[in-house]
């Protein structure tokens, strides 16, 4: 279930909190596991076995490889293959088969059809969590978790199960085994959760309408400024959707006594693509760095090899976001930019911050347009529109309609604003007022989203 749903807000969460704090300390982990599995099952009942199976493989393999046993490496590789293989099977099989068909088999007049399976909810996240953990145990970077309940809580803890942040076991193991809950943590958690909810419901979902409008009208029909405005709206939508979700996850974690790592640090304030990727979806970036880039040799190798390593990381990063060519293209787009920056102008950008900001906003918008549109003809017509300076449906009305919202979106993603909010939220009156007001507004917008008066019968 989504955090921004009534099932979660006025059923699951209050019940979970009551149960949790009434429960004796000893049983709380088990309770959280049960709650998490229920949470998962509600959203995707058919995939619970897949989640449990992947978790079980990780559990068994990590236990085995934690000691110096015979066939340790083989078990490790098998485990890893099973976990990442199931991710590949569910998410990418159809995509790869279609590539195979169109590139090779079609020329011989044959084709393979596969039954496509709906990917289990959140598989990209929990498969990464599990495989990362297995690698850490294998390499001795972390202790193995012997207690199956504690282990399952680490994998499936509901605040971060579906959309991250991707947590490493060593970051959270202390809290799983023994956590002290401070009032200040609960205070932060409550505010953080509502802040995330508001980001998602009040900003992401409302600005999304503008981008949808551009898509509906057609990329070739709108004017060039309208196309840019649409992509800007989409960029805000992505940021507030995802960082709002991370805020909610971190806030919920706090409410249950956990500290989940940060995932976003005002990425749109960056002055280079390099910096952007240190601030956007941080836990995913470090997963790729930790488990792909470094094992391949990282930067401590020849320049050619380093280029290849970086390329591999970014092609995979792209692919991780979805099984389609545009995501791979988007990954490669960032690979090229990062290479260019590293070799040519990163220094310059660091010195000329204003240029850096403008440059980063510009490339981010282009990046998100590639990310947004999955079919190539449409993507091409969007990019063509963005760079052809041509007319079409004018954006004046939409600009006038959305300018306050756009302004709010622009202000709230800056570092200055975040720092200010952090400072203010230390004051009780602010925290209290902001929480109540944002909650009320969010519920109003959530209710309205379900409001579809059935009026067509009147035509």
């Amino acid at each position: 279930m989504s955090f921004s749903s009534f099932v979660f807000l006025i059923r699951f969460l209050p019940v979970a909190l009551v149960l949790y704090y009434l429960f004796p300390h000893k049983g709380r982990n088990a309770l959280l596991v049960l709650l998490s599995l229920f949470f998962y099952t509600w959203g995707d009942p058919k995939s619970l076995p897949a989640l449990l199976l992947i978790a079980a493989v990780g559990y068994g393999a990590s236990l085995y490889v934690s000691k110096d046993r015979k066939g340790r490496k083989a078990v490790f590789l098998c485990g890893l293959l099973l976990i990442l293989g199931s991710l590949g099977f569910y998410k990418y099989l159809g995509f790869f088969v279609s590539i195979l068909n169109s590139m090779i088999l079609e020329h011989f007049g044959v084709g393979i059809t596969v039954r496509s399976f709906a990917a289990p909810l959140g598989i990209s996240f929990f498969a990464f969590t599990t495989s990362g953990y297995l690698i850490d145990v294998y390499k001795g970077d972390t202790e193995v978790c012997k207690n199956p309940i504690d282990y399952l809580l680490f994998i499936a803890f509901f605040p971060k199960l579906l959309m991250g942040p991707i947590v490493r076991y060593q970051d959270i193991s202390d809290q799983i085994q023994n956590r002290v809950i401070y009032v200040s943590q609960l205070e932060n958690g409550a505010f953080r959760f509502v802040k995330g909810l508001a980001k998602k419901v009040l900003l992401a979902d409302t600005i999304a309408v503008l981008w949808n409008e551009v898509s509906t009208l057609g990329y070739s029909e709108v004017s060039t400024p309208f196309a840019w405005l649409g992509v800007l709206a989409y960029s805000f939508q992505l940021y507030y959707d995802f960082s709002g979700y991370s805020d909610m996850a971190i806030g919920l974690g706090n409410l249950f006594g956990f500290r989940i790592p940060e995932n976003f640090r005002f990425p749109y304030s960056s002055i280079s693509a390099t910096e952007f990727w240190r601030r956007w979806h941080i836990t995913m970036g470090s997963w790729f760095k930790q488990y792909v880039y470094f094992p391949l040799g990282g930067s401590r190798c020849s320049k050619k090899r380093m280029m290849f390593n970086t390329f591999a990381v970014w092609a995979l990063t792209g692919l991780w976001h979805g099984a389609a060519w545009n995501f791979i293209l988007w990954g490669i787009f960032y690979f090229i930019l990062l290479m260019l920056e590293k070799n040519f102008y990163l220094e310059f950008l660091n010195k000329h911050r204003l240029i850096g900001h403008i440059y980063t906003i510009f490339i981010t918008l282009i990046g998100w347009s590639i990310f947004a549109v999955s079919d190539f003809p449409s993507l091409f017509s969007l990019l063509q529109k963005m760079f052809s300076f041509s007319g079409g449906i004018r954006c004046l009305y939409s600009l006038r309609n959305y300018f306050v919202l756009l302004l709010l979106c622009a202000v709230f993603c800056t570092e200055t604003c975040e720092v200010l909010v952090e400072k203010l939220q230390k004051k009780t009156w602010f925290r209290l007022a902001a929480t109540v007001i944002l909650l009320v507004l969010s519920i109003a917008y959530m209710t309205d989203a379900t409001y579809q008066p059935f009026l067509y019968a009147q035509f």
Binding site: E187, F193, N401, L432, A444, T447, P453, L455, Q458
Partner: protein, 366 residues
């Protein structure tokens, strides 16, 4: 004092209170405003849980029965005003209290299929067929529409579309309506045209069909005030100017579902939200308006229509003794067979949005 109130307790109490209220408060069954039956608590079974249908229904149940649902929705409309939005839920706010549903896309295939079906119908019809397409308010009320509202160009799309039709006489109402755009020809809060707008279209039709139009004086028309239409229902704008419905008490009877009514107006609808349904008692598969023979009247008209026609038909009852009204969305018989019948004229009257987006008009091929 305020320093001692913990935020997490307040948050918890808010959510907990909402939960309790949503459990104990009595459930509503019907929402007049939304024109739908509200969801009730779904039955649980492992099967329905396993295929997610229980979860979906339960979510709908929760949001449908949310305590203070109407208030929350209005609150959102107010919040949008504070954001200086010029629209809400797809309804753009124009000048002078006008509300315009944004019409941004239609399915080309559906549109073409509908037009071809109209063409098919003309081929088999035994009487002359005329087509009157009602433009959406935003294309006509150009002085009231917000500047450069991004909507499709209906006029061009229609001109494109009807170029493939032959054998159909087009009743063009566009310029007549546009010339009168300051004369309250569309409702402010509803997508329909007003009785005056309908009358202007009626005049155009009479000219095309060579009929003597009835002369009416709008200052003596009956009126019903306080009409808040479909656009209002969607956007719930805070300061809304309610509409007034005009009607003329022509002498005609209405028959549908095997029952005959002495008037073509259903005045009981004026106490409900959907006041426009007073015309011809709302939507029916088939209804017949009879007004007796008279001076220079033609015998019969077959009108295949949507609800825009409901406010035109009263005027037409002065020119035809019998008007058979068919709403293809509900009519289950063969419309082609009907069109082969013995009518003096056949009229297709529908809104452009309907013609371009609703699949039901392909029934004209059958």
């Amino acid at each position: 004092m305020i320093k001692r109130i913990p935020t997490f307790v307040v948050l918890f109490l808010c959510l907990f209170a909402m939960m309790i209220l949503s459990i104990v408060l009595p459930k509503q069954t019907y929402s007049e405003n939304e024109n739908k039956y509200l969801a009730s608590l779904p039955d649980f079974s492992l099967r329905s849980f396993g295929n997610s249908s229980f979860e979906t229904k339960y979510s709908t149940y929760l949001s449908d029965q949310l305590p203070g649902r109407g208030t929350w929705i209005s609150a959102k409309s107010v919040a949008e005003t504070f954001l200086l939005k010029t629209e809400n839920n797809g309804i753009a706010y124009g000048k002078d209290g006008y509300m315009f549903p944004k019409f941004q896309s239609y399915d080309e295939d559906t549109y073409r299929d509908n037009l071809e079906s109209i063409h098919d119908l003309t081929q088999v019809a035994s009487s002359p067929v005329r087509l009157l397409v009602v433009p959406s308010a935003y294309t006509v009320l150009t002085d009231y529409v917000p500047d450069s509202l991004p909507c499709i160009d209906e006029k061009a799309a229609l001109a494109d579309g009807i170029s493939v039709l032959n054998g159909v006489q087009i009743v063009d109402t566009w310029s007549a309506l546009q010339d009168a755009q300051h004369d309250y020809i569309y409702y402010r809060t509803d997508h329909h045209w007003t009785t005056y707008g309908a009358y202007l279209a009626y005049l155009e039709y009479c000219e095309e069909a060579d009929l003597e139009p009835v002369k009416v004086d709008f200052s003596t028309a009956g009126t019903a005030t306080g009409f808040l239409g479909t656009s209002y229902s969607k956007c719930k704008r805070v300061r809304t100017i309610a509409d007034t419905i005009s009607y003329f008490p022509f002498d005609a009877t209405l028959t549908f579902d095997g029952k005959t009514y002495p008037s073509i107006y259903d005045f009981t609808k004026l106490t409900t939200r959907d006041k426009y349904a007073m015309f011809l008692y709302g939507n029916h598969a088939e209804s017949v308006v009879e007004s007796g023979d008279g001076n220079g009247k033609r015998g019969s008209l077959l009108i295949i229509k949507d609800s825009y026609a409901d406010s035109v038909i009263p005027f037409l009852s002065n020119n035809y003794a019998t008007i058979t009204c068919i709403d293809p969305r509900y009519y289950l018989g063969s419309i082609q067979e009907l069109a082969k019948g013995d009518y003096d004229d056949i009229l297709l009257l529908l809104g452009f949005e309907n013609l371009s987006s609703e699949g039901t008009w392909v029934k004209l091929s059958f």
